[in-house]
């Protein structure tokens, strides 16, 4: 592949970094090879090659023939007029997108010509065309038509579907208005049915503005399931876990048919009402946690005070490390202790540090 030139790898003047992607292997035609550069102006056309079993996604880059006064590179001549970039560690979608954008914008045509690399101003009429360019362009046309056809069919079908979905949205709004006005003329059963319809369609409950509206059958069942799944993990972690931890734990365990964040929150909101042994708690800061009913955070504060007193003073990180809990929850515990008047804060550039509140104890 003779279009390459050696380069230092650093940006020259007038060069900007558009996108970087690790793990890209470069093929000369079909041959595998291995810091080399090709000016974008040398590119005629790029196309994607989807990943297959055992094969990574690739971008095929078709090139102009090498100009006669090109700088030295790894090869003097090549029989191929294209290279392939093989994305061993993914990133092909973004790379292709940015490369296509650059091909459309052709920013290099507006820049002052740097002496070393010659710029081609696209295919010039009358110039000797390399063998295969005409074939490439024809293939390009065909492929474009084919893709367009697939996309437009999918898009058409999608649009039809959306029209029907929109009818459902309008209908649900109308029903919600009626429910609001009547205030009790609709049976509880019917309200529950309505909420489950909204859940299926992904329509926000027009009355409460919450998507799927809390309190559907689904969420009730989910709440009961969660109580079962989370009992042991909670005990291992001192009776309290942040909702993000719960989200990861539950979904990793499920593997399939995962819960949406909203599903989780809506289910947790019902824990207390269903008298399950866990509850959802929201701290002042907005952090949401699940606690065992038996867990009394206020009691934990007393032991936190002891720990802080022993050490004189502690930051959230230090406290977290000592006690063996996450920094997020450690901070919440210390803030709660402060709120209850047991701790004082020292807020400086060096961080937030907590001291026992001597104003209270030594009066």
């Amino acid at each position: 592949m003779d279009r390459f030139v050696w380069t230092s790898g650093l940006l020259e003047i007038n060069e900007t970094l558009v996108i970087q992607q690790r793990g890209v292997r470069i093929y000369d035609g079909e041959e595998k090879e291995c810091c080399m550069a090709i000016p974008l102006s040398q590119i005629v056309f790029i196309e994607e090659q989807a990943a297959g079993i055992g094969k990574s996604a690739k971008i095929v880059v078709h090139l102009h023939p090498a100009p006669p006064n090109k700088e030295p590179g790894p090869f003097q001549s090549s029989k191929n007029s294209y290279i392939k970039l093989s994305f061993k560690e993914h990133g092909q979608i973004e790379f292709y997108r940015r490369l296509s954008e650059e091909m459309t914008q052709r920013r290099w045509e507006n820049m002052p010509v740097s002496q070393a690399l010659p710029t081609n101003r696209g295919p010039q009429p009358g110039r000797i065309r390399a063998v295969g360019i005409v074939g490439i362009e024809r293939k390009l046309e065909e492929k474009r038509k084919e893709t367009d056809k697939n996309i437009s069919e999918a898009f058409e079908d999608l649009s039809k579907l959306m029209v029907k979905a929109k009818e459902m949205v309008e209908l649900s709004k109308s029903i919600a208005n009626k429910i609001k006005d009547k205030q009790g003329d609709i049976t509880e059963d019917e309200t529950i049915r309505f909420k489950s319809y909204l859940l299926s369609m992904g329509i926000a409950n027009p009355v409460t503005r919450e998507t799927c509206g809390s309190g559907t059958q689904y969420h009730m069942q989910l709440a009961k399931q969660l109580a079962g799944i989370l009992q042991a993990p909670l005990e291992e972690r001192g009776g309290i876990m942040s909702l993000t931890e719960v989200y990861c734990l539950v979904n990793r365990a499920r593997g399939m048919e995962l819960l949406s964040p909203e599903d989780l929150v809506n289910a947790c909101k019902m824990l207390e009402a269903l008298q399950l042994p866990l509850r959802l708690r929201v701290f002042d800061s907005g952090v949401m946690v699940i606690e065992l009913q038996s867990h009394k955070e206020e009691e934990m504060v007393a032991s936190a005070l002891e720990t802080v007193s022993e050490k004189g003073s502690l930051t959230s990180e230090e406290f977290a490390k000592l006690v063996g809990m996450s920094v997020l929850l450690a901070k919440e515990r210390l803030l709660l202790a402060e709120k209850m008047g047991h701790l004082c804060r020292d807020d400086s550039v060096e961080g937030l540090r907590f001291y026992p509140n001597l104003f209270m104890t030594q009066s």
Binding site: L11, I93, I175, R193, G202, Y218, N251
Partner: protein
């Protein structure tokens, strides 16, 4: 028709008419509910048909995913609201985004000690791809943004801050107001910012600039460099790009030192 005078009889008749209207109103709502139930079943069938033809398209084509999401948003439907929704169940979009959410949380947690809970979308993208492995499906930056928007429901401070042409993703509940984000945007070009930079570009007084920088320091989002030429530099690890930093192993670091 006779015009009846105002009187007890007229009032009673009016009440009867109102009751009849009310009755019909209730029946209408029930009718609509029944109608919705039927339409829902039909819709489910249509969606199944759509899925059988185009499910792959959504899975493989990120532009199509974007169009799909935009169309849903336009009509007031959130396909990612619940794993139990039709969209999620039949098109499989749910699992794709919810799993991505888990991966995003894990990456942010792993890197928090380094960047304080602030990371560029680019770096997040690279790390997530690395974590997903070679055989998993590719994801776009738009996919990440959508997953993050959903994660906000979990209440632990996920935020998306526009800077330069890209975004910073915040994953800890640090309070960042407009002043803070504007300074982050200023720092984006070079990875650091100074009090003079802020005063020159934003025309703030020294005190305001200092307060913002101190807050970023406190939250662990900025590092103070007192050895920089001129005045103190405030570096933002979240903005370090591969141009400035490299992942090196402990051995390499030891070898590099004199």
């Amino acid at each position: 028709m006779h015009r009846r005078g105002v009187g007890a009889g007229a009032i009673a008749k009016k009440k009867l008419a109102e009751a009849k209207y009310k009755e019909r109103g209730t029946v209408l709502a029930e009718d609509q509910l029944a109608q919705m139930s039927k339409q829902l079943d039909m819709f489910k069938t249509n969606l199944e048909e759509f899925a059988s033809k185009h499910k792959q398209e959504i899975r493989k084509n990120p532009e199509f995913r974007v169009q799909f999401q935009d169309m849903c948003a336009t009509i007031g439907v959130d396909p990612l609201a619940s794993g139990k929704g039709f969209w999620s169940e039949m098109l499989g979009v749910g699992d794709f985004y919810y799993e991505l959410g888990v991966q995003i949380i894990e990456v942010c947690l792993a890197l928090k000690h380094r960047n304080g809970g602030l990371i560029t979308l680019e770096e997040l993208h690279q790390q997530v791809l690395k974590g997903r492995g070679k055989f998993a499906q590719d994801v776009s930056q738009d996919d990440l943004i959508r997953a993050i928007k959903k994660l906000k429901a979990l209440g632990t401070g996920f935020g998306i801050i526009p800077v330069g042409g890209t975004y910073l993703i915040q994953s800890v509940p640090a309070e960042l107001n407009m002043d803070h984000t504007v300074v982050l945007q200023l720092a984006e070009k070079s990875g650091y910012v100074t009090v003079s930079d802020i005063k020159a570009s934003l025309k703030w007084e020294t005190e305001r600039a200092r307060q913002v920088l101190e807050h970023l320091l406190k939250e662990g989002l900025a590092w103070l460099d007192l050895q920089a030429p001129g005045e103190a530099h405030y570096w933002l690890p979240a903005l370090f790009t591969d141009l400035y930093s490299q992942e090196i192993t402990a051995e390499e670091a030891r070898e590099a030192l004199p």
